[in-house]
Amino acid sequence: MMGLSPEKSTNRAAGESLRGWAAALCLLAALGCTKADPAQFKLNMEGLDPADFVASGSTDEALAERIAKIEQEPDPDEEQLSELQNAQSANARAKGLRDLKVALHALFGTPDEPFVLKELQTQPDTPEVGFDLAKLRRAAGPVSSLEDGTQIGLYRQHCVHCHGITGDGVGPTAAFLTPYPRDFRRGIFKFTSTSESAKPTKDDLKRTLKQGIAGTAMPSFALLPEADIDALVEYVKYLALRGEMETALMSYVDAGDPVPLTHEELLSELQNYASMWDSAADEVITPEAPPELDEPGLLASIEAGRKLFLDAKAQCVQCHGPTGLGDGAEKRFDVWNEAKTDTNLAFFSLPKQQLQPRNLRSGVYRGGRRPVDLYRRIQAGIKGAQMPSMGQTPAKPSGLTPTEIWNLVHYVQSLPYEPTSETGSPERSIQRDRN
């Protein structure tokens, strides 16, 4: 071996540089495998500020000065004047929104660190009323877990991709869903056990979480630990209350009035809404037990229910159609979509979605299939979804009586099993099933 030939020396150089790269890579990999805390994805709060926060370029004093100067002129320039006045209201609006943000922050904290005022927290002797801060903390924040396996950040783990970080029902997956996920901020929930104008109880929210909503994208969370479900219920209630408060304070901004910022003012406003949530448990509808019916009695009840269904008094046919297929003549929107008018569509991320009355022959019941669930739907209606409350109440003595409602319930329950509701031939194994 006299000396290295040109090819061999290039090979050697290449080999050495390759070894260098390999060594560097191994070192980095080793460093990367050291035990460190996992990344925590705290929320980017700046991204939540709307464009309105940006005020006009000038201060209030400067604008007032210029307006005064123009008004003093013999022939004031109207265009310039209105421009300056617009700038003034933009300033006022921006200030109002900043105050709103401060107020909400003071009342509710942030998605990473939520809290509620002491006056709204649960007391040990009344666990049903108020908010449990420990549960809120578990449901909030970035997704992680403690050493014993307890999950933290439950809302972001399970709910945020549909319901959004503020509970506005516009998460990333919402655009693909019919119906849209619930917007919690109105404090209106469809499937409750309470009367027409009342809030849902904690049990109602728990039931929705546990059984999901059949026929929609809301899954069943029955396999989560009970403590996780409790924490999520608490957080949903928190988001709903926060949303209601936000709307209330927003009305000040829209009217051009100063946003209340003292503790007393905010607390009294807040307690208006919180008290409705606290009193929900008193508004639960417990139906009279239906009579024990034998076979012919049940058939008679179903027949009476059918007549009621078609009767104008019960108003069923106009939405559900004469055969209960959900093909009634009325075309309506639920309250969440009603708010989207032609002029304000730009504020909403998702297009308007038509309300679809239930096809009663499918055997799929969104709010639960128990007789008591169906009773409550008819008695109190479905909040937000334009299903009216048809039952008798002290305020509406002309409504349907309990017996009439039970007849309707029996009729509705019989609909999926009528011969006309059958699809296809009786099932055999591995055959085409036309569903």
Binding site: G15, H161, T173, Q211, G212, A214, A217, P219, S220, A222, L223, T286, P287, A289, P290, R369, R370, P371, V372, Y375, Q413, S414, Y417, E422, E427, R428, S429, I430, Q431, R432, D433, R434, N435
Partner: protein, 258 residues
């Protein structure tokens, strides 16, 4: 020094085999099998693993040997070209074909037992409808007929009695899903428009003596959308008594008028 690269390739079979053996001895292996036919599936799996494992190791060793022997720095002879060996080509076509044919026939019985010999008189019938992203389960109720008033509905919670032949009628409401019970070695695509029978028998509740009920995974094994990763249900294997109690509970809840 460049023979080092041949040795580097040798680490592949060594590390591969070592990881396999270590995993099997430290719990990173198949889930507990509680089914009646699962041992056949596991046996076939192990057979294929050993067969391919031995062939893999031999192939790797031959590869490393050739790399070592014909390393460019140590072996300066010019390359020799050959027209190939017809006999060698016949040998390495026939032997793999025969092996594959053997495997195909060897497993036929196991396949037929799981997919083709539909039991005519199952003890329990249940309908499972896969939908994005949950498992909707329906028992026929007291009258034993599906699609009647007394059917019992539940979501993601499939209960079966131990030691009894269970027949699942698998359907899908929207897209392809896959009904996968790892602890029973059962996997079947749910095809929209079809009703596919899936049968199994859980031989015991669990490996814990005296247990009356145990929960196992039911997962979706066919990509069905954004929620596929969390489309999990639970299979609960329990004694007959507990099973009856479960059904009675379901009925009571479902008929609640208060």
């Amino acid at each position: 020094m460049s023979r080092l690269w041949s040795l580097l390739f040798l680490t592949v079979p060594i590390v591969g085999v070592w990881v396999c053996i270590w995993s099997a001895n430290n719990g990173y292996w198949m889930p507990d099998d509680i089914s009646s036919h699962g041992h056949t599936i596991d046996h076939l799996f192990n057979f294929c693993l050993w067969l391919t494992g031995v062939v893999f190791v031999i192939t790797e060793l031959v590869l490393v040997w050739f790399m070592w022997k014909y390393d460019a720095k140590a072996h300066a002879e010019p390359v020799k070209y050959t027209h190939g060996s017809h006999n060698l080509e016949i040998v390495w076509t026939i032997i793999p074909s025969a092996t594959l044919l053997f495997i195909a026939i060897y497993q036929m019985n196991a396949w037929a037992n799981v997919k083709m010999r539909v039991p005519t008189d199952p003890d329990v019938e249940v309908e499972v409808v896969a939908r994005q992203f949950e498992w909707r389960i329906r028992y026929p109720g007291k009258d034993g007929v599906f699609n009647t008033r007394d059917d019992l509905h539940t979501v993601n919670d499939l209960h079966v009695p131990v030691g009894e032949q269970v027949m699942v009628r698998l359907k899908s409401q929207d897209v392809l899903h896959d009904f996968f019970l790892p602890h029973l070695r059962i996997k079947q695509d749910a095809v929209p428009g079809m009703v596919i029978p899936v049968w199994f028998k859980a031989e015991r509740v669990s490996n814990v003596t005296g247990a009356t009920s145990a929960a196992y995974d039911l997962v979706c094994a066919e990509l069905c959308g954004w929620g596929h990763y969390k489309m999990k249900g639970q299979l609960v294997v329990e004694t007959r008594d507990e099973y009856e109690r479960f059904l009675a509970d379901l009925e009571k809840q479902q008929e609640a008028t208060q």
